[in-house]
């Protein structure tokens, strides 16, 4: 028997059960990495990049302002937990809701333009939020940020109450929410609506001609993307017990984009691989020098020049070529 004939290579096996695989891998990383907090940071940023990828990777819209939804989620959860006596899940829910509404409003205006103008508008809105947060000190704490965010237990009143604030417990709390997000998102991307998103990415003009209301669908994609990014923001607040202005700063938007590009836009694994690689490199290199961006910079340049599909996209294509498979992917195999 020829090697590979009749058998699936490992990458195809992974693609066939991609959601399950990624859930398992994510369950293992806190035990592999030097410390749990790094793992937590990775999946929170992975979730953020996952949300970003809905818009950029699957709908083909380049946003340069996703710090806005990350920040809205982060600030809202922080403010709600400080000022009200609400439960943990309600605090997270408030963050997610406000970022969804924010994405709805901002997306409505940004989507009136295309391409570079769209990207600039998303960035302008994010910067407006940044300056608003820096001025509105009574609400946001201004420059020093929001501190002393309480740590309410995970509880359903009358049923159970559980302290999640050890590094490992907190990791698995975040993991559980990431798993729910992944399952939701995989479902959405495989649905008729998800297929239309990919149709718009491939050829918006034709999608319109087919009778799809491209404007409305892009808007929904924008909101969906902002919602998941907002969840990442809410979790980030709990993770570091602090919300700072830099979360709304345009550098954060750039970081999200870099992670997505590094991992592989339009792939399901990509955002996590991108976020993980980025943060791991940052962690190692910043141990040697504070100018870690000088080392990371060239890595990105090389990536974008030679692996425009990102790490996972490149690995996947390479695996397909080894197999000589005729691209089952086009069937909308968004999975791998």
């Amino acid at each position: 028997m020829l090697p590979g004939a009749g058998t699936k290579n490992i990458f195809q096996r992974i693609s066939d059960h991609s959601v399950l695989m990624i859930i398992l891998v994510l369950a293992l990383i806190p035990f592999v990495l030097p410390y749990e907090a790094l793992a937590t940071q990775m999946i929170i940023w992975g979730l953020l990049a996952l949300g970003y990828n809905i818009l950029y990777g699957y709908t083909g819209l380049l946003s340069f302002g996703h710090a806005a939804y990350f920040g809205l989620g982060a600030y809202t959860t922080g403010i709600v937990l400080i000022r009200t006596n609400c439960s943990l899940l309600a605090g997270i829910g408030a963050g997610v809701l406000v970022s969804a509404i924010g994405a709805g409003i901002i997306g409505f205006f940004c989507l009136r333009r295309r391409g570079i103008y769209f990207a600039l508008l998303t960035m302008a809105f994010a910067q407006m939020l940044y300056f608003t947060a820096s001025i509105w000190e009574s609400l946001t704490g201004g420059e020093p940020g929001l501190r002393n965010i309480p740590h309410p237990p995970l509880e359903i009143p009358g049923l159970f109450s559980f302290n999640i604030y050890t590094p490992l417990r907190f990791y698995f709390f975040v993991w559980a929410l990431v798993v729910i997000s992944l399952l939701l998102l995989s479902r959405i991307l495989e649905s008729p609506f998800g297929k239309v998103l990919q149709g718009i990415r491939e050829n918006e003009k034709r999608a319109r001609a087919l009778g799809y209301n491209a404007n409305r669908i892009k808007w929904l994609s924008f909101i969906l993307s902002g919602t998941f990014s907002g969840l990442a923001g809410a979790l980030h607040t709990l993770y570091i017990s602090f919300v700072g202005l830099e979360q709304l700063y345009w550098e954060t938007s750039g970081k999200i984009l870099l992670m997505t590009l590094l991992g592989g836009p339009g792939t399901f694994f990509g955002p996590f691989i991108g976020a993980g690689t980025f943060l791991y490199l940052e962690d190692i290199i910043s141990g040697f020098t504070q100018y870690w961006m000088i080392v990371l910079g060239p890595i990105f340049v090389l990536c974008v020049l030679f692996f425009p599909q990102g790490i996972w996209g490149t690995v996947r294509d390479w695996a397909d070529r080894c197999k000589g498979a005729d691209l089952k992917r086009g069937q909308g195999n968004w999975k791998s």
Binding site: P192, F193, N203, A209, G211, G330
Partner: protein, 247 residues
């Protein structure tokens, strides 16, 4: 029964009228060709009918209902589809998914919970169209990877996927070899049994072969209309357009 009518339809780009005062009319299940030299306004006329462009002046009725100025996606849902001159498909989706997405547009856009591949009626319709355009064997190939001739057929298949009442075909045989052209002509004959077609085409043999009626455009204006024999015999048409063309 009349399926499409335009009245005084005009589109100006700056000072230039690409389409000027066109009164056009099409019967149900008729195949009508629009011919004319390059720049005569044929493609612009298509874009006005399918809603890609909004007219500067004039009105359009489809199936007895005025559609002037409606959004493109709304007009699509009324039953007008376009197959484009420059192949306009989804390159990184498979042939099947290209057609499936078109068929899906008639049934669901916002369902974000069920699996797209489990919608059997959509799959069956897409499969049927794929067979009709002769791409059944290539269903799993990426649209970008199939031959140009196949892409031209897929282009038509994607338009058919929306199950139109009226199909606007912009040079369906452009760039095809004589053999492929013959195949496409018989495909169009097959398709035209169940719907109305407006055809823009430069190959006179194709036009004469397929058309019930022909409208001749010149510098945005209608200069003649009639059946193929009448157009062939028309002195003015021979002068501005058919002049050098051998039949």
């Amino acid at each position: 029964m009349e399926v499409l009518r335009t009245e005084n339809l005009t589109k100006k780009f700056g000072g230039l009228a690409a389409v000027a005062h066109v009164d056009f009319h099409l019967e149900r299940n008729e195949v009508q060709s629009i011919i004319g030299p390059n720049g005569a306004g044929k493609s612009t006329l298509f874009k006005l009918i399918n809603g890609e462009l909004k007219p500067t002046q004039g009105r359009i009725w489809f199936n007895g209902e005025e559609i002037t100025g409606l959004e493109q996606h709304v007009i699509s849902h009324k039953g007008i589809a376009t197959s484009y001159q420059i192949t306009n498909i989804f390159p990184k989706l498979t042939a099947f998914e290209n057609v499936r997405l078109a068929v899906q547009s008639r049934r669901t856009s916002y369902n974000c919970w069920s699996k797209a591949e489990d919608h059997q009626t959509i799959n069956e319709k897409a499969e049927e169209i794929l067979q009709k355009i002769g791409l059944g064997e290539k269903r799993s190939n990426l649209a970008a990877n199939i031959s140009y001739g196949d892409q031209r057929h897929l282009e038509i298949g994607v338009a058919l996927g929306t199950e139109p009442i009226l199909l606007l075909m912009d040079e369906p045989t452009s760039g095809l070899s004589p053999i492929e052209t013959r195949e496409t002509v018989s495909l169009i004959k097959e398709i035209a049994k169940g719907l109305s077609v407006i055809l823009v085409e430069h190959k006179m043999k194709v036009v004469m072969d397929l058309s019930d009626k022909i409208t001749v455009l010149h510098e945005g204006e209608v200069i003649a209309r009639g059946n193929p024999q009448e157009i062939r015999a028309n002195e003015k048409v021979r002068r501005v357009y058919l002049g050098g063309v051998k039949e």
